[in-house]
């Protein structure tokens, strides 16, 4: 059977499963719609969180990025995993004890202020919407490339699928679909890696394999270092000084951003107990780590394979995958010195080969000559990754509107049924809106997605942490901190991002910090402003101090919605 037939079969089966799960897990109440009834087992929640977290970017682009960056790729690996330690230790158990539905819920009640809730609501919408538009675009690209349909058709298929299970099932439908999606995507990601690891170093565990020796007895990484240096690139494993400053700041911005992202935090409202919130963060990270420790192995294998296959080889003898990706313009070759051989070099004036880093994961099974069903599986995995993340984000947007805006601000008397209907309409509008925006994304969106982390780090993270760990923190401090933090970060990003029209140049970076890493400084400014302002203004009322005392202790946790 051809790859195409296999793809239709495997993708068809997985979609049938997602839809079946969605029908089985319909939501009957707002509590089920917002937090899956608060009854998800920690293990299932861990898997769902992992699928929610790992987007098309983690799945398709990250290994490719690392393979071109070498050591520096660690900023994504550590940045997108380390935040879960902060979540588990500093946020999840307390927010679960607090037991409401959303992040603006917590900010609004802890800081006894509608203004604080509104500021948080706006931040949540801004962060989630920029993020989801990128995901919808990813869904379109994935469908278009894999099923060989038009980009627009790809987005419409994506909208239809997400629409179905998100509108019907809310958080409950999304959670159980994500469990299935996690299984598909992790299987699809690791199977090719295992095959390739066996081929190259004879070790079935890729995480160990990329530190192993090749058939000629040399270590794979030593060999790759030498290949890189011979072509004029820096050593794959070396950590240059300049690298390290930005790796430090970008890693930190991603970590604190992770711990401040509303669609991640809200997952810990779905488990029954405080104890479950702690352990489910552990499961989530464990499931995420399986992919994140495999990715650098794939990066090393793919880079070595690529250089060995193309470098200084005759153009006419390239394997079939080369011309296939050339046709879709993701690889291009320009024979500058007319020797009909491919020169792949660091020096841009003599380099003849341009490669889109996204093809690394996709082309991997083909380069290694794996069977057609494995290639089809990778496709299904990519779609699972894109769909699961989009659904999780859309839910946050819908909840913000129906719960935080309607119920808590505009229409406090709305009935349970009315609120559920509003939530369904909000998510339907959000799905279609995000899809249309993804169809024709404003040029800056792709740039802004990565920066959503900086914005989350500089706004939510300090406000939540201080809300739990500093009893004296009051509304004046928190609101001032959030506003100054997010404005500073947004301004720096705008100023130094030419894509956003900012006038700054890299020479002007403060302490050499890239815009991607500035969220950490924004976070520190937020902390400083909050502490300073709070000490010069009135202490929070006694019932708020009691609330803080209460969330610090696990016993007596109520299901979310009981006090609703």
């Amino acid at each position: 059977m051809s790859v195409q037939t296999w793809t239709f079969i495997i993708v068809g089966i997985t979609f049938a499963i997602y839809i079946g799960v969605a029908i089985w897990a319909r939501a009957g109440s707002t509590k089920e719609f917002y937090v899956a009834g608060g009854g998800v087992s920690p293990l299932a929640n861990g898997m769902a969180t992992a699928a929610d977290w790992m987007s098309a970017a983690s799945y398709l682009s990250m290994a490719g990025l690392i393979s071109f960056m070498g050591y520096g790729g660690a900023q994504y690996l550590m940045g997108w995993t380390g935040g879960y330690v902060l979540l588990a230790l500093l946020l999840a158990p307390y927010l679960r004890k607090f037991g409401k539905f959303t992040v603006p819920d917590f900010i609004g009640e802890r800081y006894y202020s509608k203004t604080a809730r509104l500021v948080a609501l706006l931040c949540a919408l801004l962060v989630s919407f920029t993020y989801v538009v990128g995901q919808m675009k990813g869904v379109g690209v994935a469908f278009a490339r894999f099923l060989e349909v038009e980009f627009a058709t790809g987005i419409f298929i994506g909208i239809a699928i997400v629409f179905f299970y998100a509108v019907l099932g809310g958080m409950k439908g999304i959670t159980y679909t994500q469990v299935a999606q996690y299984c598909v995507l992790i299987f699809a990601f690791t199977v090719p890696a295992i095959f390739i690891s066996l081929q190259m170093v004879g070790n079935p565990i890729p995480q160990v394999g990329f530190g192993g020796t090749m058939s000629d007895g040399t270590y794979l990484l030593d060999k790759l270092n030498k290949l890189n240096v011979d072509l004029g690139f820096s050593e794959y494993t070396s950590a240059g000084m300049e690298d390290r400053v930005n790796v430090f700041f970008v890693t930190a911005a991603l970590m604190f951003g992770t711990a401040g992202l509303p669609h991640v935090i809200v997952r810990f409202f779905t488990v029954p107990k405080v104890k479950d919130a702690r352990i489910s963060a552990g499961y989530a990270l464990l499931f995420i780590a399986i992919l994140y420790t495999t990715a650098p192995a794939i990066a090393t294998f793919a880079r070595t394979n690529l250089i060995e296959t193309v470098s200084n080889q005759p153009y006419d003898e390239m394997p079939a995958w080369f011309s296939k990706w050339e046709a879709s313009k993701l690889i291009s070759f320009e024979d500058k010195n007319n020797d009909h051989r491919i020169q792949y070099l660091a020096d841009p004036t003599r380099n003849e080969l341009t490669i889109d880093r996204d093809i690394m994961v996709l082309a991997n099974p083909e380069i290694a000559n794996l069977p057609a069903w494995v290639i089809a599986l990778v496709v299904a995995g990519g779609l699972a990754a894109a769909l699961s993340t989009a659904a999780g984000l859309l839910l946050v947007i819908a909840t913000s509107i129906s719960h935080d805006l309607l119920k808590k601000n505009l229409m406090p008397d709305i009935s349970e049924k009315g609120e559920l209907l509003a939530a369904r309409i909000a998510i339907a509008v959000a799905v279609v809106g995000a899809g249309l925006a993804g169809l024709n994304p404003p040029g800056f969106v792709a740039q802004v997605v990565a920066l959503a982390f900086g914005l989350a780090a500089s706004s939510f993270f300090p406000a939540i942490i201080l809300g739990i760990f500093d009893k004296r923190m009051n509304k004046e401090g928190a609101i001032a901190g959030m506003i100054v933090g997010i404005l500073f970060t947004a301004a720096y990003i705008w100023y130094f991002k030419p894509q956003l029209g900012g006038p700054g140049t890299p020479e002007g970076y403060w302490f050499g910090i890239k815009p991607e890493g500035i969220g950490v400084i924004g976070m520190l400014i937020n902390l400083a402003v909050s502490l300073l302002v709070s000490r010069f203004t009135a202490a929070p009322p006694q019932e708020i101090r009691d609330l803080v005392e209460d969330i610090r202790i696990p016993r007596g946790s109520s299901g979310p919605g009981l006090a609703h």
Partner: protein
């Protein structure tokens, strides 16, 4: 639960957090970034050590830290009789 006991529970919790987060910082920002270059001169099999911490080791330690934290807190909850029934 008495106020004093609650304070004692919270203090112990904060001590666990300080220790665990120090390790968190040390393996990632320390071994994986700040000291990565000197550590790279040490080899662990085919891996330069700094590179290994940055792309593998730190992530393993992160997972371990959460499970250790869960274990410590479950014990502490029982000890202070604040666990959920």
């Amino acid at each position: 639960m008495s106020k004093q006991k609650a304070q004692e529970y919270w203090k112990k919790n904060l001590r666990y957090l300080t220790i665990l987060l120090s390790i968190w910082f040390l393996v990632s920002y320390g071994c994986g970034i700040l000291f990565a270059e000197p550590l790279n001169s040490i080899k662990m099999g085919g891996f330069p050590l700094g590179f290994w911490f940055a792309q593998q080791g730190a992530i393993y330690v992160f997972v371990l830290l959460i499970f250790i934290y869960v274990h410590l807190m479950n014990k502490l909850d029982k000890e202070f009789d604040v666990d959920e029934k």
